[in-house]
């Protein structure tokens, strides 16, 4: 068991679970989607991305790509949230919440792919 693998798996999974936690619930109900959870999801996703830097293998490259997609989606969700709360002046309406949550839903998909890759890597790992 290597600590590096533990940390890597931990962050990849945590990114997916936090993302899922934020996403779950009625898509247009602001009360069901906590902004702290979105914040945590963004931070953990960024860390997971950096952890995937510099891996030259094919699977490592796909890992990095999925993480970058998740980052992009989550940052877009954050920007939508910033627009709703700071710029539009209307606050978190049902529509605004829906757009934030649906963007994070896209990130969730990417994160699920990431987890799937992690599982595949683990299963296909044979002691050499």
């Amino acid at each position: 068991m290597s600590l590096e693998k533990v940390i890597f798996g931990f962050f990849v999974l945590l990114a997916a679970t936090l993302n899922f936690g934020f996403f779950i619930g009625d898509i247009s109900d602001p009360a069901l989607h906590n902004e702290y959870e979105l914040f945590a999801a963004v931070v953990v996703n960024l860390i997971a991305t950096v952890l995937k830097f510099g891996d030259r293998t094919q699977i490592g490259a796909v890992h990095l790509a999925t993480s970058l997609v998740a980052d992009l989606q989550l940052i877009a969700a954050t920007l939508a949230w910033v627009y709703a709360t700071q710029i539009s002046g209307a606050g978190m309406t049902g529509e605004a919440t829906a757009s934030v949550v649906s963007l994070s839903g896209g990130a969730l998909l990417a994160n699920l792919v990431s987890v799937a890759l992690l599982v595949i890597e683990t299963v296909s790992f044979n002691r050499r």
Binding site: V43, G54, R56, V82, Q86
Partner: protein
């Protein structure tokens, strides 16, 4: 995940190209600092949103994520716009103090890591290799790969560069590669500090490049030269390879792979010395031609062919020299620091008592052949004092000492690095010259003396140029019909385009037909299509000859003495057309 077996067949040594490898290296090294930075930011922003605050009316409020991120961004980057949206409470200020110090540490760590990375040796080597590989890949002209760029390499490099040849250099000493930037070269010479014995590096240096026209191995390490010759023979079997060595054993091993040209400078000395002893004129001609363009006729040395020689220094060079002198039936007294065999005088030759043992007054020749230039110079001076009539040879090891040796005015200056460089240059620049030099001693001393007299009479004592002419339809279109006529004596070609009763200032040295060579072809030698001729002579003669070969009007006059109008109209009007046409 590139564990796929490569299909058998052509071997490749170039590493799988990874154009983004430097990027990956940066990313890999920056992983920890980036994570630290993200965590610090996250903690600071999160803490700021949780700290209790107040609005101007004193109502409790909390900072939003957006404001907190905004505040942390300008605080952490030391810009600092002040407290927004409201004045901070004590709790918020306390937290901000903590986050400021945290973020400073984070930035310092990240920037520090980046700077370390830029100065990192591995990183810079990766960058240099990448730039070098790209330069080599983009070579569009034939180039020579030189491994080992010490004295010999640099001499050869400069000579070839001024000929307009392209080079790629590999050397494991940074100073040698740096000399590429410091010295003046006409063309850009890509160079890399790397071990020439590493096949990957040879691959990166263009061993497999289609434009690579040859490999020259000139490192000081015989093993490395052997590895280079072997690698080249295995990867590119038909590529010409020239390798230097001073060891006969290595030479033998080199020849086991393909057919490399092996240059052994010490061995070559022996050949030159024997030539100089037996055929002074042949040696004079060789010394003149091998010096290349611009060389003036060297004086004919008169080394004593009988009597006793004294040789100082009995290393590899000394051994070779003594063997060659003894093989010529000369008596040799050897002085060396350690007597390895009976008959060798042991001791420092610069000590008068040791010198006295060698009895210089009764000797005829003296060679200072140690590997130390200062010692050699002092030995020469001491020997002269003892016996002014001695024939003196000295070995010069470092090029920078050349002026000192020049003022000593020794009869024979032996410069191993220069010998190797000249010889390789002769082989690479004009293979016909090389062939001439190889076959010339067999013609005897009188023939060489005649050739020198002829060269001196026609072109003066300064060698303007050596050039090769190929009598093909492409290179000599104006001679096509003449060559086919079977009545094409060389003497006619040598007539001057201005006055055909005179000769151009050039001497044909060698005629190569197929694989058969004729040295010093006479004027009535009949030429055929495809013949190659090596000329020595003035530059103007070269231009004249080129005129004769390419211009129908000129060739008509030179070959047949007919004056033909140059223009089509006058040719039609006068009815005089060049018969060499068609």
């Amino acid at each position: 995940m590139d564990g796929k077996p490569r299909p058998k067949g052509r071997t490749t040594v170039t590493r799988p190209t990874e154009p983004s490898s430097t990027i990956f290296l940066i990313l890999r090294r920056m992983r920890a600092p980036l994570i630290v930075l993200i965590v610090i930011f996250a903690i600071s922003v999160l803490g700021l949103t949780l700290m209790p605050g107040q609005d101007p009316e004193g109502r409790p409020t909390r900072m939003g994520f957006f404001d907190a991120f905004y505040f942390m961004s300008y605080t952490a980057t030391t810009i600092g716009y002040g407290e927004i949206p409201h004045s901070f409470t004590g709790a918020q200020r306390l937290w901000v103090i903590a986050s400021i110090y945290l973020s400073v540490v984070g930035w310092a760590y990240a920037i520090g890591s980046l700077l370390t990375l830029v100065r990192d040796r591995a990183f810079r080597e990766a960058l240099a290799l990448r730039r070098f590989t790209r330069q080599v890949v983009h070579m569009r002209e034939p180039f020579l790969l030189i491994v080992g760029y010490g004295q010999t390499g640099q001499l050869l490099g400069h000579a070839l560069d001024s000929l307009g040849r392209r080079l790629v250099v590999l050397d494991d000493t940074p100073e040698h590669v740096d000399s590429l930037d410091i010295d003046a070269y006409y063309a850009d010479v890509p160079g890399l500090v790397a071990d020439g014995a590493n096949p990957h590096m040879l691959g990166a240096a263009g061993l497999e490049h289609p434009q690579c026209e040859g490999v020259v191995a000139l490192t000081n390490n015989d093993e490395v030269n052997l590895t280079v010759a072997m690698t080249a023979a295995l990867i590119r079997p038909n590529l010409p390879v020239i390798a230097r060595t001073v060891s006969p054993v290595i030479e033998h091993r080199m020849r086991a792979f393909g057919s490399p040209t092996v240059v052994n400078p010490f061995d070559r000395f022996g050949d030159h010395i024997r030539l100089a002893l037996h055929q002074p004129s042949s040696f004079q001609l060789l010394a003149w031609l091998i010096k290349g363009e611009g060389a003036t006729l060297p004086e004919r040395g008169r080394p004593p062919t009988s009597g006793r020689w004294v040789v100082c220094g009995y290393g590899r060079f000394g051994h070779k020299l003594v063997d060659d002198l003894r093989a010529d039936g000369l008596e040799v007294t050897v002085i060396d620091l350690s007597a390895t065999e009976p008959g060798v005088i042991e001791g420092d030759a610069s000590e008068p008592t040791v010198m006295a043992q060698a009895a210089l007054s009764s000797a005829v020749g003296f060679v200072a052949g140690t590997h130390n230039d200062a010692t050699n110079l002092s030995l020469v001076a001491a020997a002269r004092k003892e016996n002014p009539s001695l024939f003196i040879g000295a070995r010069q090891n470092r090029p920078r000492n050349a002026p000192l040796f020049a003022t000593m005015d020794v009869d024979w200056l032996l410069v191993p690095a220069e010998t190797a460089a000249r010889e390789i240059y002769a082989q690479l620049s004009t293979p016909l010259t090389w062939r001439f030099l190889q076959e010339m001693p067999a013609r005897g001393d009188d023939w060489a003396a005649e050739t020198i007299t002829m060269l001196d009479a026609h072109c003066g004592s300064r060698l303007d140029g050596l050039w090769k002419v190929t009598l093909t339809e492409r290179e000599a279109p104006a001679l096509t019909a003449w060559l086919r006529s079977d009545r094409a004596p060389l003497g006619d070609l040598m007539r001057c385009p201005h006055d055909r009763d005179q000769r151009i200032a050039a001497v044909p040295l060698l005629l190569l037909r197929g694989d058969e060579s004729t040295l010093g072809p006479s004027d009535d030698t009949l030429l055929r299509t495809g013949d190659q001729i090596l000329f020595a002579g003035r530059r103007i003669a070269r231009r004249d000859l080129l005129d004769t070969m390419t211009n129908h009007v000129v060739s008509e006059y030179v070959l047949y003495g007919r004056t033909v109008p140059a223009g089509w109209l006058w040719q039609q009007v006068t009815g005089r057309k060049p018969s060499t046409h068609r």
